[in-house]
């Protein structure tokens, strides 16, 4: 295994040798084309052929990634820097790829069952989803300024189209417009930031930039402005406060399965990119503390959490409520990234561990909650108001119990997975001595209970008719399976999470 040069713990490979490590993304792109062909070959409305192609390629990519994780790297090497330092192949990237692929698979299944899309041609939808998946994988692994921008834009542009996919729905197109405009401005700001970084160091690779910055004193103000602008781009993706304004309207307007997808996968990718930037760009000891990174991140986190929770309390529309709830969870995740290890001055290992762990747990419980919303849209009514959920609990026991598990896990109650995730985040915050942030965090958890419990109150506590029991709701078997598939890990990971902890530790350990 020869490489061009050794960049930190990464071995830089030339273009051709890198292809071998780039298989998952290639499969996805192939899948994209296949899906379009599949769709062209049938004109039956509602045909699911393209869906199966999409699923096939996603599973193949997943298999490839897992195989890649197994491949033994030469000792001493943290990872490989492919295509001369553009993209990186390391346990962290692989972890996120697995996360994105699983999320996309689940969303495709959700789309199969949902009534949101009516009987229009679905081919493009599945194809675009594959492109987004590929884009997400790139976001997680790019360490080159250009790749950062390209992967972000790939995901964003496709998402704009997906949000506005249902052309007839006025709210969808309105959401699409808002998403486009807000997204473009943010990414524009990001590029401007990247240009400054490039200007300061003349390098495009994050690690090289980091090394150059450490050497050149007096660049702090410029770096600060640059990082703010980059933060604009990433902040928009993870919907952190002041960049969250698009989030509620887009989540409400977009078709529910896509809202679910947006609330999980791109947000995780945003965190992957943020982690990637902080690790590589500010890898050197003390560089984070120089720009007072913990305070900045902590303020962002506190703002995002509090705003998300406080407005969510006021919501009566379930999708908007889950939108603000996802903003709040972005706040909790930011807590992890605010933790800087006092000794080494770099991002604290426990913080990153907490973020990764929480993202996995968040994937299951959030998708679960959206799955219940979708199932209810099937059975009850298009109405998305909480009051329309009145008395559902007793009528659909599996649905009610699943929703209870997801919502209480989102609140962070043991013995569910949400608690363990929050536990790790709080442990990191306390270890990093950001006590005030920890207190803000727990108060937010308490506030969050109020609006999650409101949904359950509507489902269980409020009785629609005092007379007899309303007719029980029969769920479609695939919905039940899907709910169990999502609920099981939420509970299991709350009780026995050693394997997941091991996986996350392996994907984080090599950095520290």
């Amino acid at each position: 295994m020869e490489g061009l040069e050794q960049l930190g713990t990464y071995l830089v490979l030339d273009i051709l040798p890198s292809i071998r490590w780039f298989v998952p993304e290639i499969i996805l792109f192939a899948g994209f084309t296949l899906a379009i062909f599949a769709d062209l070959t049938t004109d039956k409305p509602g045909a699911t052929r393209s869906a199966w192609v999409a699923l096939g390629s996603l599973v193949a990519a997943l298999a490839a990634t897992i195989a890649g994780m197994g491949a033994a790297l030469p000792e001493g090497l943290g990872g490989l820097s492919l295509f001369r330092g553009a993209v990186v192949f390391d346990p962290l990237a692989n972890f996120f790829k697995v996360l994105f692929l699983v999320a996309t698979i689940l969303v495709v299944i959700l789309i199969l069952r949902s009534r949101d899309f009516g009987l229009r041609k679905m081919g493009e939808l599945h194809a675009l989803l594959l492109v987004v998946a590929a884009g997400l994988c790139l976001m997680a692994s790019s360490t080159h300024l250009l790749l950062l921008y390209l992967s972000l834009e790939m995901v964003s542009y496709v998402s704009y189209v997906l949000v506005g996919y249902v052309k007839e729905d006025r709210r969808a197109s309105e959401a699409g417009l808002k998403y486009v405009l807000f997204g473009s401005v943010s990414s524009g700001a990001m590029i401007f930031g990247l240009s400054i970084l490039y200007g300061l160091t003349g390098e495009m690779n994050l690690t090289k930039i980091g090394a150059a910055l450490a050497v050149s004193p007096g660049t702090e103000p410029a770096v600060l402005v640059a990082s703010f602008l980059v933060m604009a781009g990433i902040g928009y993706k993870i919907a952190a406060v002041p960049f969250h304004f698009w989030c509620p309207d887009v989540y409400e307007g977009a078709p529910t399965p896509l809202t679910a997808f947006l609330s999980v996968a791109p947000k995780a990718a945003g965190f992957a990119m943020l982690a990637r930037v902080t690790i590589h760009l500010f890898g050197q000891a003390g560089s984070l503390l120089a720009i007072d990174w913990p305070l900045v991140m902590a303020v962002f986190s506190a703002l995002t959490m509090t705003l998300g929770n406080v407005i969510a309390v006021q919501q009566s529309n379930v999708k908007r409520l889950l939108a603000y709830s996802s903003i709040a969870h972005a706040g909790y995740l930011l807590m992890g990234l605010a933790c800087v290890d006092r000794a080494t001055g770099t991002l604290s290992e426990r913080g990153l561990f907490g973020v990764l762990f929480y993202l996995v747990v968040y994937l299951f419980m959030n998708l679960g909650a959206f799955a219940v919303v979708i199932a209810l849209r099937e059975k009850v009514s298009d109405e998305e108001e909480i009051d329309s959920y009145r008395g559902i609990g007793p009528r659909a026991p599996l649905l009610g119990v699943a929703m209870a598990i997801f919502l209480f896990s989102l609140t962070g109650l043991p013995p569910l997975a949400g608690f363990v995730g929050k536990f790790f985040l709080f442990a990191a915050v306390i270890e990093a001595e950001l006590y005030w942030l920890a207190v803000v965090g727990i108060l937010n958890s308490v506030i969050s209970l109020y609006y999650y419990a409101r949904i359950l109150k509507a489902m269980y506590l409020e009785r629609v008719d005092e007379t007899g029991e309303a007719p029980p709701l029969r769920l479609a078997p695939s919905h039940s399976v899907l709910l169990v598939v999502l609920a099981a890990p939420t509970v299991l990971l709350g009780i026995f999470w050693a394997p997941l902890a091991g996986l996350v530790q392996r994907s984080v350990g090599f950095l520290f």
């Binding site: 808002k178 702090e220 600060l224 304004f245 900045v296 406080v310 969510a312 506030i447």
Partner: protein
Amino acid sequence: MATNMPADMVTSLVLILLLPLAGFAIQMFFGTRLPRKGDWLSTGLIGISLVLGIVMFIRTLGVFDAGYARQVHWPWIDIGGFRVGMGILFDNLTAVMLMVVGIVSFLVHLFSIGYLHGDVRYSRYFGYLGIFSFSMLGLVLCDNLLALYVFWELVGLSSYLLIGHWFEKKSASDAAKKAFLTTRIGDVGMFIGIMILYAKLGTFRFDEIFAAVADGEIGGSLLTWAGVGLFCGAIGKSAQFPLHVWLPDAMEGPTPVSALIHAATMVAAGVYMVGRLFLLFTPEALLVIAYIGLITAVMAASIAIVQTDIKKALAYSTISQLGYMITALGVGGYTAGLFHLMTHAFFKALLFLGSGSVIHAVHSQEMPDMGGLRKKMPVTFWTFLVATLAISGVPGLSGFFSKDMILGASLAFGMEHSSHLIIFLLLLVTAGVTAFYMFRVVFLTFLGRPRDEERYAHAHESPAVMTIPLTVLAVLAVGSAWGGWFQALVVKPELGQYRTAAVAPAVPGGEHGEAHAGEHHEAVHDETTIPDALHADPEGHETHVAGGDHADHGAAHRAHQIAMITSILAAGLGILLAWLFYGRRLFSAETVRRRLAAVHLLLSKKYYFDEIYAVGVVGTTLWVSRAARAFDTHVVDGAVNGTAWRARGFSWFIGLFDNTVIDGMVNGVAGTVTAWGRQFRRIQTGKIQNYLLGLVAVALILAFVRLVRGF
């Protein structure tokens, strides 16, 4: 005192104690199913325990030793740092008290069979009598403070149950509640006293406490506070001033109950306690006891004069006589006080049962409805007359001996400390007043012309089951004091018996020059206000105390003579006045009442104690509790929205807070969160321009703060 009680004595004493309890248990569960509803069972059980009591009493008479005492002690609670035992202490005083409680309780059981015939809760009544006897006997037998407190409260419980026997009447249930709560206030003081002693000495047992006092481990103001604390219990239970208000209301209970509890036994518990813990009280404490007793005696006697209800009159006379006993103990007349307790128990029980038989016959408690019943109810009349003679202190009867001893003790005390001579004088006056109001009752009920023809017509003598107890009590009222056996057996204890530490207590100023080797109470204090005459005992024939001081003997004897003469004079004067007013009607009570209208009103209104307490104590407590509830719901919780309670104008205290100022701490917090939510929600206007504006604005603010603070 090691546990040196022989086995047979232990079994009989435990039997005496548990039989009434067994009666209670059986009555409670199976009472109604027993033939005659189980009255024979309860009476039988208390009878057996009385017989055993008599046997024990004869045993102590046989031994005839003032210092005779047997004790047995078992461990009860042992948790390392805290050890408590239960035990029985049997000495002469206990023997006498067993006799008193046994006899009166048994006779009341008998009397109740007749009096409560056909009552709706007949068996439960006898059950309650059972648990009362058990608690009273327990109180008398126990050997430590904690057990004393336990039985103390159980006696309170039984009096609550018995007073509230006819709970359909609101006045009865009110009286029961009032009795329990008033005595409970006294019990608070008592428990504080127990806590002080336990905290200092680490034990509850009487003998160990006396030993500690003797060794000087505890003294001065702390011991005084403990003494006063314990005495609070007595104030509550023995209806002394200021906690006496419950006893007159307790007359709501059936008359046999009044006889048993509110005349003979329970109210005497306070006196018994002061007697049992006599060595504990420092001179200052004794002084407090004396004056509380005095005030009670005088006040109660004055009220008794104007009472029209026969039971209320007897109730106030009981309070007055209790005041007598407490004063006696206060001035150091240990034997005198307890002797009066015994004699009073008999003749006061007789008076109550007598009044019960009258009420049973006339079906009214108001004396104006009675009159001239002598011919209709001869036995009741003669027994009632005997009791009245006894209580008035007519020579020869039991009352005379005990009351005379008290007057003698108070006179001796008065002669020693001239400033306290007033005690003797007031007691003397009270003796006269007692004679006056007792004979007033006799004249109004039994002599003179019947005032209510219809009631008089069908008045009849009570059945045998009621008259037998009367006659027995009459005999006791007359003869119980003869032979001076009591004075010989029940003698004032001396600290010396309990001193364990070999060395004399490290008391500044050392032994008093002229005092004999005999240890004196006040040896423990240096600057006592009362020189050591305290121990002088008017009876003069301190046969047993080692080395009584002969010099004072003469003074005590002289005081005794004067007291006897003056008491006979006072009694005679009282009887004469009563005869003049109500016998020969030479002076008309009516004119006196009109001329002294103000005084009469004051007395008939019982010095307005009830009204003061109703407004003062009860009123303020209820107001504070309503304020606490309002505070809880509105300020701490804010559950009720503002308008509701302002509209009701609940109370000025809450009215001060406008609900916009305080929305309740708890719901206020929840309120602020939702308020924020409404504000933040408005910035999400849905317009793209505002979003971008928001983005840039917040970004700029953060950047600006960061730049200014950062570099």
